[in-house]
């Protein structure tokens, strides 16, 4: 990415365009689930990603600080529930990450051919 314009440089290696916040297995998983589900509950994320509550909370904090998700706490009866929703920036970051991964794979395959 060029520092001046923010427009990706086509000649740059795809790795340079990867967002370190998103480019992490668990955080990418959280964004994927939230994108596909419209919104996802904390317990569902924990089960699907096979994480402890503390570990998941840390990853959610990172994503929330980066403005990629919104965390909403509510109740279902007497039970507290935490819902995670993807922001517009989060949706764009996920799309960009997937694009970069595809480019990276294509690049590796071109070099290997």
């Amino acid at each position: 990415m060029t520092a001046e314009t923010g427009i990706p440089d086509p000649s740059a290696h795809p790795v340079t365009s990867l967002d370190e916040v998103v480019h992490q297995r668990v955080r990418l998983g959280i964004l994927t689930i939230a994108h596909e589900a419209r919104r996802a509950e904390f317990g569902y994320l924990r089960t699907q990603l096979d994480l402890t509550a503390g570990n998941l909370s840390k990853h959610l904090s990172v994503l929330e600080s980066a403005g990629l998700i919104e965390v909403e706490k509510g109740y279902a009866g007497k039970r507290g529930r935490t819902w995670i929703t993807l922001t517009t920036a989060g949706s764009a970051a996920l799309t960009d990450e997937i694009e970069q991964l595809k480019l990276l794979i294509a690049r590796v395959e071109t070099l290997g051919a």
Partner: protein
């Protein structure tokens, strides 16, 4: 340094594969396809007696008409009053019930739902079918005419049972559900090529004339509901 060019989060192929697997799992957990089909099957079966008793037949020798009785050469006008009285309200209630059910089940599973575009499509098609049938009922009694087969096929698409199929195509797309797509195409084929084409119910009298089609549609939807419910149960 080779490490500079390697991604920090792992093998990109593995990451992409994980993304696809997770997305697929979420879609499976959001589905309650069998509920939608069961509600639509119930609506279709309930329509049969209403259509039966709501059929309005007027026969008069030489009157202008839609159907001709061969036996006595009298001419009969058949008006399916029950269809207009029952189906618009029934379909609106059905789509509302399906949407509420999808949202509640998804919420219980810890997810959001994707059913809104389906419900909106279903409701829009219901409004379209109602408008088309009201227009037809006002226009055709005074302007009887014979239509080519392709117009009749198009007409079957905006019947209540036709709109059910078209809306199910939207649900299949939303859920990226290939099994539902295949089922819906089969259902639409049955709707567009009704049992009359095979000679069933052609000499059963006016009231029974419409029954085979509705029974077949209802059975297909019910079997679909059972099939999707069994598949869902096995997966969980």
């Amino acid at each position: 340094m080779t490490t500079d060019s390697l991604p920090v989060g792992g093998d990109p192929r593995q990451l992409l594969s994980d993304v696809r697997t997770l997305a697929h799992r979420v879609r499976l957990d959001q589905r309650v396809t069998w509920v939608a089909l069961l509600v639509l099957a119930a609506v279709t079966f309930i329509a049969i007696p209403i259509d039966w008793y709501g059929l309005d037949v007027h026969c008069a020798p030489g009157a202008s008409t839609q159907l001709v009785q061969e036996a006595d050469a009298s001419v009969c006008t058949v008006w399916r009053r029950g269809v207009l009285l029952y189906w618009p309200a029934a379909l609106l209630l059905a789509y509302a019930a399906i949407a509420v059910c999808y949202v509640r089940v998804a919420r219980e599973r810890g997810l959001g739902a994707r059913v809104l575009p389906y419900a909106i499509t279903g409701i829009s098609l219901t409004v379209l079918f109602t408008a088309a049938w009201v227009a037809a009922s006002l226009y055709f009694p005074d302007h009887p005419q014979r239509f080519p087969e392709w117009v009749l096929v198009l007409d079957r698409l905006i019947t209540p049972w036709g709109t059910i199929g078209v809306a199910l195509l939207v649900l299949a797309r939303l859920e990226r559900n290939v099994a539902l797509l295949a089922f819906t195409l089969g259902y639409l084929a049955i709707v567009l090529v009704p049992p009359h084409n095979f000679g069933w119910g052609t000499h059963w009298g006016y009231q029974a004339d419409f029954v085979p089609q509705q029974v077949v549609n209802g059975i297909v939807l019910l079997l679909g509901a059972i099939g999707f419910a069994v598949a869902h149960r096995r997966r969980r």
